[in-house]
């Protein structure tokens, strides 16, 4: 099992009731409260809190923390001048979030600001505010707070039964006797192409860790419960119980393409995985990134500590009568049927079961059991 990123699994959970202390309180948004959760539980190891300026500048320019540890996505806590009031460096501030029931503190090491355009350009490769990640950067408040957090309380997730911490997954993998574990990230119910990728990767390791990202979704996306149920069905009927595990990851998508692919791999390393599946246009949006830019970026990190498993697009070849990719099939494109998420979605919206060439019947039926499987 790989060492946690940076060498140590961070645990910033505390038992002391922080709400009773007389501290200045700031209500933070749900995305930030998820960041706090992920820092406290070690998903973001080695981070102990939100980035200070030196770390941020290193992340922006070198894709590394000041300690030289690979880190590609800035984890930042932004505040307005009004919220800051007379809060200064050295103070401790209570951070709360109603939706997640978060009660945490930050020991403020640094209050600073950053040029948003530089941040957007370096991290997202564009300053186009049509890019959702860039839009988030531009909507950030003017001040950043860097410092260590402590988490006292958080409300159990709606999917608590699938919510394992890195400490728990590491223990689980060990108990199962898994040495090599491949992680698969998803935001959709599984179609045949996904299953093929997962099983191809699984063939070479001891177990697969299916790790759907749960959280804020946009209209038309599959609901979280649909994704989980559809995977449950697939795993029940088509996976060996002793070879596959699913648990959720509560974090927001940044759509930072290649940089985010590295970040996704780091989180899975902290969960105890040795391999991470990277497909086409990983964490991309629109046409801001090339389809295999994420694959290329891994070559910058010989010290990442988790091995990427690269996959290109899979399709069904009617000549081969099997699932193929461009490396293994000699037949013309006209014989290839792509696993189109869009087409599958359209069929499901109309209450139709997609062909078994695209999606397992049991999976489709599970999705259609939901009155409204999509976010409205």
């Amino acid at each position: 099992m790989p060492r946690p990123h940076g060498g140590k699994l961070i645990d910033r959970k505390i038992n002391k009731d922080l709400s009773e202390q007389d501290l200045p309180t700031i209500e933070i948004n749900t995305n930030l409260s998820e960041d706090i959760d992920n820092i406290a539980n070690g998903v973001f190891s080695p981070l102990k809190g939100f980035l200070c300026r030196n770390d941020l500048e290193n992340v922006i320019t070198d894709k590394r923390l000041e300690s030289d540890t690979p880190w590609t996505i800035p984890i930042l806590l932004d505040f307005s001048k009004e919220e800051l009031q007379d809060i200064k460096e050295g103070d401790t501030v209570l951070l709360t979030n109603k939706e997640n029931g978060t009660i945490a503190t930050i020991d403020i090491e640094e209050i600073y600001s950053i040029d948003k355009k530089t941040l957007a350009k370096k991290v997202y490769g564009t300053t186009d505010d049509a890019h959702p990640g860039v839009a988030n950067v531009f909507s950030m408040k003017e001040n950043l707070l860097g410092g260590t957090i402590s988490l006292y309380k958080t409300k159990p997730s709606a999917f608590e039964n699938y919510n394992l911490s890195p400490k728990e997954t590491r223990f689980l993998f060990k108990e199962k006797g898994w040495k090599d574990v491949v992680a698969f990230q998803t935001r959709n119910p599984p179609h045949i192409g996904h299953e093929y990728v997962q099983k191809t990767a699984l063939t070479f390791v001891d177990g697969i860790f299916i790790n759907p990202i749960i959280g804020k979704k946009k209209k038309g996306d599959f609901k979280d419960e649909v994704i989980l149920e559809s995977y449950n069905t697939l795993m029940k009927h088509h996976y060996l119980k002793e070879r596959a595990v699913m648990s959720i990851l509560r974090t927001s998508m940044k759509y930072a393409g290649p940089r985010e692919a590295i970040h996704h791999a780091i989180m899975r390393k902290n969960f105890g995985c040795t391999h991470f599946i990277v497909g086409r246009d990983h964490a991309g949006v629109g046409d801001y990134y090339g389809p295999y830019d994420a694959h290329d970026m891994f070559s910058e990190f010989p010290d990442l500590g988790i091995a990427p498993v690269f996959f290109r697009s899979f399709s069904r070849c009617t000549k081969c009568d099997s699932v193929v990719n461009d490396k293994i099939c000699p037949h013309d494109q006209k014989y290839h049927i792509n696993f189109s998420g869009k087409k599958i979605r359209e069929l499901l919206i109309n209450g139709e079961i997609p062909s078994e060439d695209m999606m397992r019947k049991e999976v489709a039926e599970t999705i259609l059991k939901f009155k409204q499987p999509f976010v409205e």
Partner: protein, 77 residues
């Protein structure tokens, strides 16, 4: 200010000149744009390869708590 920061960020090491020349030749036409970037890459690879596997060192109490939860959730029999 930037120069001062860069001075802190980087340090100089000495390697034999013939080796440096060999490396320069070796990296021609690759993605490495300098001797330093190549040496940094190789050293990062070497150092990370020397890291030991993780042994979390669970306390007995911790282990029981985690095991109970995993059993309750059906992850372990």
């Amino acid at each position: 200010m930037v120069e001062e920061k860069d001075e802190k960020k980087y340090t100089t090491i000495s390697i034999p000149t013939p080796l440096a020349e060999k490396i320069k030749k070796r990296i021609e036409g690759t993605g490495f744009n300098s001797l330093s970037s190549y040496v940094t890459y190789v050293l990062r690879e070497v150092i990370s390869g020397m890291e030991e596997e993780s042994d979390e060192g669970f306390s007995k109490e911790d282990e029981e708590r985690v095991k109970d939860r995993l059993r309750a959730l059906g992850y372990l029999d």
